[in-house]
Structure formats: structure tokens, C-alpha cells
Amino acid sequence: MISASCLPAPSVFSCRAPLLRMENLGVRFGPQWALRGVDLHIWPGDLLAFIGPNGAGKTTLLRAILGLVPPAEGRIVQHRPDLRIGYVPQRLSLDAAFPLTVEEFLALNLRDSSAWFGGVPGKQRRAVREALETLQAAHLARKQLGLLSGGQFQRVLIAAALLRDPEMLLLDEPSASIDRRGTEELQTFLQDLHQTLGLTIVFVSHDLHLVHHLADRVGCLNQSFCGVGPPQEILSEPFLAAAYGAALAPRRFGFPLARS
């Protein structure tokens, strides 16, 4: 393991308590370890990305934070037990003919929608409209969910997560199935959300361009924890080689890598 995994918190966060603390976190599926040895703090206002190859444990880490998979060793400590976490999964494999409008889908995600029958009552409709307007997607309200483009769908998923008023937003591969222009738009509105709402954002991605331009900190995974630090440090040969393999890493990514 490279020593940067134990980097101290950036100075801007150091006077505050972390939202989450992972201590020697390990997750196992049967005999197979999906993830091991993760020591990490997530700070309020963090914009943290996780990178690593397929099967590196990125999604597992998000699911562990959500409490969907239990740690096999170590632990995750929340600063407050009632920490509100929003989750944006990878593009859902939806049946395009599923009869559900964007507005109905968003109402489905509201906390107080126990009596949901597809309808969107006045108070909820306002919340839904506001969430869509925040993401400049108000025009999508009446569209059928299964017919949205990749970028539109990603916005709707983020709007759904925002409706639950999260303090921390987790995104799993937010740029998967979005074209370059869509990814740039995604980057812009995630930055806006981070700045205007002060939201803590944690995302996993294969898109190192997005990670490079969006994240304040980057965590590097390959079933074990390779390191965490600023993008210019982690998106460099030693860390990428540790995550993706020494032979592949330098040739694989089509932008000039920062060198440590």
C-alpha cells in the first residue's frame, strides 16, 4: 500500500468532525474479499471520487456506506446516526415501456409519500418541481421515465436523491452511458450543487477526465486501498499503476497524467 492512504485531512476540513469514518473496513462476499483495509474520513463539503478497475470494490464501498452490505472487518462510524445520505445508482436497466412519468418517479422517492398512487399532490408537486428546476430539468416532468436520454435520466436520478434532503450524495458511475457533452453538463451541475447547497459529494467513476476536473480528493482502490489525496497526486503513475497495473496505467488514459 502506498503511504498516501493515510494522508491527513485537507486543512480546510481539519477543524470539523468527519461525516463518516472508515476504520480498516473490509467487505467479503463468501470467501472472496471485495474490499479490504480502507481507512478513510469523509468530511463535510468533501468532493471525493473513487477510481479503480472493474471489480476494485468501488460500488461495494458505496453500498457499505449506505449500510447495504455489512463490514466483514473494521467499521464505518457516522458522525451522527441520522446522517441523511442520497444515492444515485448506475443507470437503471429500466423497461422503456414501464408506465411511469418523471414526476411520478420523483414523488415515489419523497419521504412522506406513503399514500403514493402515482398521483402527485400539491405540496409534493412543488418539491418535485423545485428539484427538477434545480437541475434545469423542469421540462421533463411529464415525460415517460423509460424514454429519457442517458443525460436526462442521470439528472432525474440526482433530483430524486435531492428530494430526500441529503447531507451527502453518493453517485455510482454518474457519467456511464452519457456522451462527452452530457458529462460536461453533469460536471457543471454537480459543481453547482456542491457550491450552492454545500453538499458533500462522493462518486465512483472510470472517467478520469471527470475525476480530474471535478474532485477535490481522489481515493484509489483495487480491492485494497491504494491511496487518497488531491487529484494531481493520485492521478499519477505510481497510484494508477497500483490500481490498474504497471503495464496498463500509463497508456490507458488519454490525457497528460500529473506526475508526482
Binding site: 449506505l66 447495504l68 444515492y87 445508482p89 437503471l92 429500466l94 415501456a97 414501464f98 408506465p99 411511469l100 412519468t101 411520478e104 418517479f105 415515489l108 422517492n109 409519500s113 406513503s114 399514500a115 403514493w116 398512487f117 402515482g118 398521483g119 415517460q144 430524486a160
Partner: protein
Amino acid sequence: MNLSELWSYDFMRYALASALLLGPACALLGVFVTLRGLAFFSDALAHSAFTGVALAFLIQERTGWSVDPMVTVFVFSLVLAGGMAWLMQRTALGADSVIAVAFTGSVAAGAILITMLGRYRMIDGLLFGSIYANGPEELARQAGLALLVGGLILSQMRRLALATLSPELAQAQGIPTGWGNVLLVLLIAATVVVSLKMLGALLLSALIVIPASAARMACRSFRAMLGLALLGGVLAPASGVVASAGLDLPTGPCIVLANILFLVLCGLWKMGRVGLA
């Protein structure tokens, strides 16, 4: 005998009341059955009643114990559902193959047992039922079933819809995956038990699957699908009963064809709306 004369008979009024109770309940159940891709699965559960009924007679003949066929139908349909789920998870067989094996196997086993027990004539009744075999007691049971199905599905609507749309999103909101399927299997089994005598396995499957499929085809919003499925669940069975009385035709097949007519009309309406007609 004209229609107004027919309505003066209790059996006709009971048949219509039965159609109006079971039709919407089955249609509501069908909304989630079809959205979850469980139409064939529910069909197999309905037809498992062949073996369920035969088991009751077999137990009675071999042990002398009088067992209510409703109990054996309910238990056998749950055993079959559990067996199908186990096979789907533990073997390389596709879900459709497992269901086909369970479906045909339980009908064949039931038919053999019923024949061996000398009750071959029952098979027609198990397939098509007899909606005129209703009395106040049956209607009370059907009203109870309609309340159970309506109450459980409406109160769990949000959880069911989210789990149907995306198990991952539902899980992230604390809704366990697989829970919705268990609820639907229990409700289908209860529906089979209560309505088999009146509807038969074939008609029961039609009432669950066709109105919801028609509504799904025609609608792009969930609320519209729900409303249209319920409308089909009221109109098709009621018009099937009326048509069968007026035209002196078998009631079960009339109800199935009325459902299919509803589906065709929904399809035509949808084609007209998107400019294909």
C-alpha cells in the same frame, strides 16, 4: 328468456356481484404481476390448483380425514412457488423453463390423481369454474378477498412500485428486495383459493393478466395504468356475464373474450394516439 327476466334470479345477481368483486381485485393484483414480469408465474400458480384439489381428495380417501380443498390448494401453491424460486436461483434453467415445467407438471399430476380418484368430470370445472355456483357465503369470502388485495396493495403501493422499478433504489431506501414477490405470491395464492370454484384456473389467469396488460400498453403514467386496469377489471367481467346471459353462451369464455376485446380497444386507442392507426 330476456335479460330483465334473468336478473330476477339470484344466481344471475350473484354472478354479476362476483364479477364486480373479483374483477377489480384481480386487475389490481395484475398491475404488479405484469410490471414484475410474473404473468406466466401467476398462471402456473393458478393451475397448480389441479394438484392442490386432488391432494385434498387423496388425503380423504387414504386417511379418512376430511380436508378442505382450500387448505391444500393454498399450501400446494405456496410450495410450488417456493420450489420454482429455488430452482430459478440454484439451477441453470431459465425462469420461463422452470415455470413451464411446474405449470405442466402440476396440471398433469393433478389430472392423473383426479382421474385415479374417479372424479374426471371435475377437470372442466377446475379449468373454467362456474360463476353461477355462488351463494351469500361465497360472496362474503370474495368481498373479504377484494378488501385484502385492495388494502394490502394500496397501503404498500409506494414500496411495491419502487421495488418493482429498481430493487437497488428500493434497497437504498430500506425496502428489502424480494419482499414484494412474497407479498404477490401470497395474494395470488389467496385469490386462487377463494375464486377457483367460480372462475377456474384459466379465467383467473385472464382476469389477473389481461386488464393490467391492456392498461400497460395504453398508458405512459402509472396513475393512468392503475385507473385503466381497474376500469377493465370492472367492465370486462361484468360485460362477459351480461353477454353470456343474453347470448346463452358459457360465461367463463365470454369473460375472457370480453377482456381480450378490452385489450384490443386499448391497443387501438394507443395506436390512434401515436398516429399509427
